[in-house]
Subunit: 184 residues, 2 copies
């Protein structure tokens, strides 16, 4: 157990904030902790069919480069994770999800952030719009599962939630947790 | 591409800092971005034998609970990732690694942090010390691989790097990337 002694400062972005706290460790010592207070988020692995997924190209300011990821984003006020996954998929790719399957809910940066990401798989995709969010997404790419494992192992895909989504789908498939008609 | 216009403030913890920037999006609009500037980190899946790993119990201030994770930590100044993985394993568990295998290097929180974590598998463990870092670690637990997949699927293990380490080892095993004598 670590207890907050005092707050030394905060930063506020559009939808989340960061705090610097002095905390008392269980040994009695005092230390400093950064705490990112982040709304829950949802991510979605969109399956075009059993062997192909849809990924988004996106500029990431924090790492200073364009990345290849699955669609994801923060929950809006009052929104639940499945609704957020469907909305982000629609906004970032123009596709509407038919079926949605929850894969895993996890802490991406447990050392300094309270963010929780719930990852879904989506199938039965239908084209809903030709538009997508141009502020965030610079392009779409269809990738075969075989190819994406190569992109992961060679270091082209380095986004945690993307790799975790694929790994958890694989684990749940082997455990028989994925309905037989999910990809139909 | 997103360009920094100005810095609006910073917070400084022991070994990393957080900045709030106004940035210009590629559409020309101005937005606000949080950027955590974090040193690189290393994590390690410690194998007692081919079927059992060692995990640490740790209080996590950001999420307000005790968690079950693999050993991990930030690189010291001038330290490389394998040296960091060996040191964190020794400090958090008292074990020295015989063999070390790089599994994956990734961005855990690509939306707001530049942190990169390189995950290793370790084998050939030998007990080096009875001491461990009491400020961080409250206990050790030996877990069988079968059991840990249950802990992941039921939501007891929710730490991203821990699940990714196991998933990447599994992927590399299936690809034949893990030397036959690694677990001997």
């Amino acid at each position: 157990m670590e207890e907050k002694i005092r707050s030394l400062g905060s930063l506020h972005a559009n939808h989340f904030s960061v705090h610097l706290h002095d905390v008392r460790l269980k040994t009695g010592e005092v230390s400093r902790r950064i705490k990112v207070e982040h709304p829950p988020a949802a991510a979605v692995v969109p399956f075009l069919d059993a062997e192909r997924i849809l990924m988004v190209r996106q500029w990431r300011y924090a790492v200073g480069r364009e990345t290849l990821e699955i669609p994801a984003g923060k929950l809006d006020e009052g929104e639940d994770p499945p609704a957020c996954a469907r909305r982000e998929l629609r906004e970032e790719t123009g596709y509407e999800a038919g079926r949605l399957l929850s894969l895993f809910s996890y802490y991406p940066a447990i050392g300094y952030s309270d963010e929780v990401i719930e990852i879904f798989a989506a199938s039965g995709l239908t084209r809903a719009s030709e538009e997508r969010d141009e502020r965030e997404i610079s392009g779409l790419r269809e990738v075969k599962l075989d190819e994406i494992y190569d992109l992961i192992l060679e270091g082209t895909v380095r986004d945690g939630k993307t790799v975790l989504g694929l790994a958890l789908l694989d684990l749940r498939r082997r455990r028989g947790d994925v309905p037989g008609d999910f990809f139909v």
